[in-house]
């Protein structure tokens, strides 16, 4: 079945560059796929639609133009290609997390527990923007479970 998408079409002035980079960071945090210059897509649901609508509002407030579209890709191959690009971005984030979890095995008790807490929050953030889960998702989960097993209970 074809994915339904919500798309943000936007145009922002080149200068100042702050709103551009802020928008880019926010789209990245939402896990949006960049379809072209000034066009970003997320799988359609109420939450994603609302998030993009607020971003559209911010673009307008920053002196740009923005509109929200609902749509589907006419070609299944292009949809796979977009999904796979989005999956590659989160896969890289999972791999960073896996490396951090491995490194934490060498840390001392208290530090290791704090790292575990930080990495658990990070995993939640990545999963929230993971719409086409790559194999790394399961590996990251396992790596954190392994780290949790060697973290001793805090002394009350």
């Amino acid at each position: 079945m074809r994915t339904l998408w919500v798309l943000l079409a936007y145009r922002l002035p080149r200068e100042p560059s702050t709103p551009r980079s802020a928008l880019w960071r926010k789209l990245r945090r939402l896990g949006a796929g960049q379809v072209g210059d000034g066009l970003a897509a997320l799988p359609l649901d109420a939450r994603n639609r609302e998030k993009l609508e607020w971003l559209a509002e911010e673009v307008v407030e920053a002196g740009g133009e923005a509109s929200i579209w609902l749509g589907e890709l006419a070609s299944a191959a292009q949809e796979r290609e977009l999904a796979s690009r989005m999956a590659q971005l989160v896969a890289a984030d999972y791999r960073t997390l896996i490396a951090d979890a491995k490194a934490a095995l060498e840390e001392r008790g208290g530090q290791r527990r704090r790292t575990l807490g930080r990495l658990r929050r990070e995993l939640r953030r990545i999963r929230a923007r993971d719409y086409f889960p790559p194999p790394e998702r399961e590996l990251a989960q396992q790596e954190l479970e392994g780290l949790a097993e060697v973290v001793e209970e805090p002394v009350a």
Binding site: K26, R29, W54, A56, E57, E58, E61, A128
Partner: protein, 143 residues
């Protein structure tokens, strides 16, 4: 007064509705719409694109209400942190309650319509207000 907002309320709209009833308008009438074009002429829209009482400059609508109506009550700003993080999760504030509140409201919105959701979340925000007030007064988390 009549107030209009989008259908399928979540945390920000539920919190704004509570704020309206408790601090701005004791007998509000809420209208839920699908599109900005459906807002009745005599209603004040909130938490909708294009509305004044909405997201602005990184603020969620609840924060915008506090600024526009100059509600300086520090307890309300404590609640604003929770609402902001539950709605936007951009880590502007440290609000560990937020992910829990987000899940509870999302779940509730799956089994109740908007009218009922606002009726049920009213006492929840009353309680949150009381808790945060006591915490501010005593300087520690109340038991």
């Amino acid at each position: 007064m009549r107030w209009a907002t989008r259908r399928h309320c979540h945390i920000d709209r539920a919190a704004c509705a509570w704020l309206i009833r408790r601090f701005l308008d004791p007998e509000p009438e809420f209208v839920f719409v699908d599109d900005a074009d459906e807002v009745p002429a005599d209603a004040t829209p909130f938490d909708m694109r294009g509305a004044e009482l909405s997201h602005h400059g990184g603020d969620c609508s609840f924060e915008t209400f506090l600024r526009r109506y100059e509600l300086a009550d520090p307890v309300l700003w404590e609640i604003a942190k929770v609402v902001h993080e539950a709605d936007l999760a951009d880590e502007r504030y440290d609000a560990p309650e937020a992910p829990g509140v987000d899940v509870l409201l999302r779940g509730l919105s799956m089994v109740r319509d908007d009218e009922e959701l606002l009726a049920l979340t009213g006492p929840l925000f009353d309680g949150l207000y009381e808790y945060r007030k006591r915490a501010l007064l005593t300087g520690r988390e109340p038991a």
